[in-house]
Structures are given as structure tokens and as C-alpha cells.
Symmetry: C2
Subunit: 297 residues, 2 copies
Amino acid sequence: MSADFQNWATSCQARIETFLEARLPAIDCVPERLHKAMRYSVLGGGKRVRPLLSFAAGELAGADVVRVTSVAAAVELIHAYSLVHDDLPCMDDDILRRGKPTCHVEFDEATALLTGDSLQTLAFEILAEKRLTDGPESQLEMIAHLALAAGSRGMAGGQAFDLDSVGKPLSLPELEYMHIHKTGALIRAAVMLGARCSSRLNDEQLGKLDHFAKCVGLAFQVVDDLLDTEATTATLGKTAGKDAENNKPTYVSILGISEARELAQKLQCDADQVLNSFGEGALRLRQVTDFIIKRKF
Amino acid sequence: MSADFQNWATSCQARIETFLEARLPAIDCVPERLHKAMRYSVLGGGKRVRPLLSFAAGELAGADVVRVTSVAAAVELIHAYSLVHDDLPCMDDDILRRGKPTCHVEFDEATALLTGDSLQTLAFEILAEKRLTDGPESQLEMIAHLALAAGSRGMAGGQAFDLDSVGKPLSLPELEYMHIHKTGALIRAAVMLGARCSSRLNDEQLGKLDHFAKCVGLAFQVVDDLLDTEATTATLGKTAGKDAENNKPTYVSILGISEARELAQKLQCDADQVLNSFGEGALRLRQVTDFIIKRKF
């Protein structure tokens, strides 16, 4: 990873942290326990991959970084809510997240439930409260886009499909279907919302960018599956080896390690090819893609 | 209840049912189990009190009924999501809702969790996807309004406050604080969003309407507490006597039955007084208020 990219990523991460720190209700704001749990679940951790994608796409589109920060925070809040609910006993029943006890372990199940609920709500509040696009109509489109990506035909739908397929053999197309929804939809939203903070890109360019985001979303998941097999709990900051333990179908269980690695590389090539048509403006997107593929946690 | 009001309420309920029936993803849309659970939790039941308030406020403001239907559906979906999550074992652990098994009993806990999550998301999708106000800026304000009403400083916050106060003695102001958030915020949003589908009411009138909605929201809760004490499970369609059983503070436990009845009447008087300043246009709001106070379930 180049020092230039490292500096840029660190500054984006600091920007999103500062925004979320200020925007999440304070710990002394009633109900204190809920607000403490919301802050616990969002602040001070995570790679912020989705925000990095929003910032990089925003740069490509020449968007105002203040607008992109709000959009990136909204996407990250949807991601954070999904993790809090995913970790609950009735879902993955996980006790470790980002190297800390999960929300329901640190607080309690009811608080974790309301925490996830409230983080989702806050995401939409942030997308509606300030002007984030050149015209208010496109901001409404943004909100509809995020809702579609997060809901029952997007992320939550992918999770439901995942639940239904535990212990079942999935074909590669079924596995792909699941991940396009479960993680892919929100990653695509991160890219598209970042770009749509400006109106510079035309529909054809936005279409290309969406194809790029689809490749990156799948690549992200393939790498996630590889890391779950190869990395340790300490490195990941979450329980490693859960998928195999839970008999969950993954790219590794279906393709094997070496073919899964090849697939990740192929998806990176496809993504890079799209970015080449954007020229130099796509530098950050290229770097974030590389970071996603080569990450070790 | 007059036949005229009964007809109007029935037609509003049919309108909201038709909208939700068409707008919720079909049962054969993947993931089928999640979509089945969403429809199960929303369709074919409930008094639709919040939609009735939206329609009545929309009539006062002379708003387009098609717009009001979307807004009313969004508010009802937030309400439905909160019921599904409230009924979960880690919250109220209830098995009966609207005369049927609760979502997690009929399906399973994980599905109920994702159902609530997805119903919330759908509410925001509906508020963003079509033009619902005279200008798009006011539609963004509507979305922010609903998010504020539903989130950690609104409905979800009231639920968290409720959790924190089980088994504790609450003062009347604390109980009021809890209900202003837990049920009041969404009832106010139902009224205000209905009215804001048109731009006819000025800020002073909207302020009055908000005061009306605050009175109705509290009255709704006082009556709810009375019904929980006095009615049977069969009439309510949900488990009666739960509050006393769970040692939850209620208007009845703090004030006693007869003072609680007086409070409900006083709140109705306050609400009616506000409506008088609107003249004949407020007929439906007056009738819905009366329906809320006098309901038996």
C-alpha cells in the first residue's frame, strides 16, 4: 500500500469518525444506555471500507467532500446496524466484533436490538436533513437507492437467503446471488451515493461505475471467505472459522482456496478495466479496490 | 360512532390495505420466507389508527389522498416494525398480536428480526420514491421528521427508556416522558406528515396541529393502559394484563383507574379545543380522536 494512499485513507477515516462522533447522540442524552450502545457499536473501529469507496467515488465525480461525508456516514450506519443485528443470538450468535465484545454481550439483547433499529433510522435522518446533491429530487433518489440496497430485496434479503441456506448445498450462482444482496448491494450503494453527491457523471458513466461496484462487492466477499479460512481470530477481530463451523457455504467451500483466489483476482481485473475508462480521476477507486483485495483482516 | 365516520374509516382502512398489499414484495419474490413474514406482520389486521390520523389531517389540509396514502403507509410500516421487534423474546416476549401468533412464533426469531428491519427500510423507501409534497425540499423534511420520530430520540428511545424502567417506580412526568416518545412521537408524525402532503397550512397552524397530536398521542396511551387493565385478551387480540404482570408502570398503576379516565377526558378536551380553531375542516380529526378515546380494543 502506497504512503500516499495510506495518508488519504487515514484522513477519510478520521473525517468519518469525526462526523459520526458529532452526529451520534451524546452518552448523557436520554436514554443514556441506548446512546452509549449506539456509540459503542459505531465508533473507534472497523476498516470503513464503504466510506472509503464513497470518498473515492466522490473524488472521481468531483463531489463536495462535506456532502460525501454525510452519505458515507449513512452507508456506514446501515452497515453497523446490520452487524449489531447479525451478531445477535438468534442470528450468528457471535461474541466478538472489531476485537471487542459484541453489542448484546457488552449491553444486553434488547438494547442491541434497539441499537440496530436506531442506527438504521439515523442513516435515513442523515440523508434527509441537509442538502447533499445539486437538486433535492436527486437526494430523494439517493434515499430510495439506499433503502432498496438495505431492505428485503437488498442486504436484509441476502441475510434471509443466507439463513435459509445454512446446511444446504448452494450452487455457485446461488452463492453469488446471496452475496450480491448480502454485502454487494450496500457496497454498490456506497459507490453510487458518493458519486451522486455531484451531478458531473452522466448516466452511462454511472452505469459503468455501478458495474465496477458490483465486481468490487463480490471480490470483497470472496476475500472475506478466504480470510475466514486462513486468518486467525486475533487478526480478524472477529471469530475466525465460523463459516465452516456453521456449515455455511462459502466461495472457499465451493471453489477451494486456489480457485477462490483466482476469482478474486479476476474480479479485480474486471473492476480495474472499468476504472481505466475513467482515466486518472479513478486513482483512489483503484487504490481502494487494491486495498480490499489485499487486506489481511 | 356515527355511520358517516364508520364509512369514512372503513374506506381509509381499505385504501391503506390495498396500498400495502400492492407495495409489500409478493410471497413468491425471493427471499420468500422473509416476504411472507413481512406481509403476515402488516396485512389484514390492526385498527390503523395512525393512518386514520394521517388521512384526517390530510383532509384538514386539503391534501391529495394518493399522497397521504403513501405517507400513512410509511408511518404504519414503522409502527408494524416496532411491534414485530417489541414482541421478540428479548423484549416483551409476547406470543399474540392482532389475534394471531406473533411473527417470531409463526416464523422464527431471526426472520422476525429481519422482518422488522426490512419494514423500517420500506417505510423510508416509500417516502422517497414518489413525489408526496408540493416541493421536493419539504419531502426531505418529511423523511427527516419521520426518522426523528422513529429513532433513538423518538419511538425507539421511548422503548429503551421503558426497558430501563421495568420494576422501577416512575413519577408521572417520567411516565409522560416515556410515552411522548414511545407512542406519541409516531402519532404526531402521522398527523404532521398527513398535513404536510399539502402546503396549505401555515407554520402557526402546523404548530397547533402538532399540539393537538401531542394530546391525542398521550390520550391514546392512557386509554391503552386502561384497556390493558380492563379488557380481555380475546377483545384486545393481544395478551391483556401484561403491564401489571411485568410490573410496568402505567397511567393506571400511578393514577388509579378513575383518575386515568379523567386524564383521558381532559386530553380529549384539550385536543378538541385546538381543533375548534380549525372549524369544520377538522371534522375527521375530531371523529378519529373520539374513536381513539372510546375504543374498546
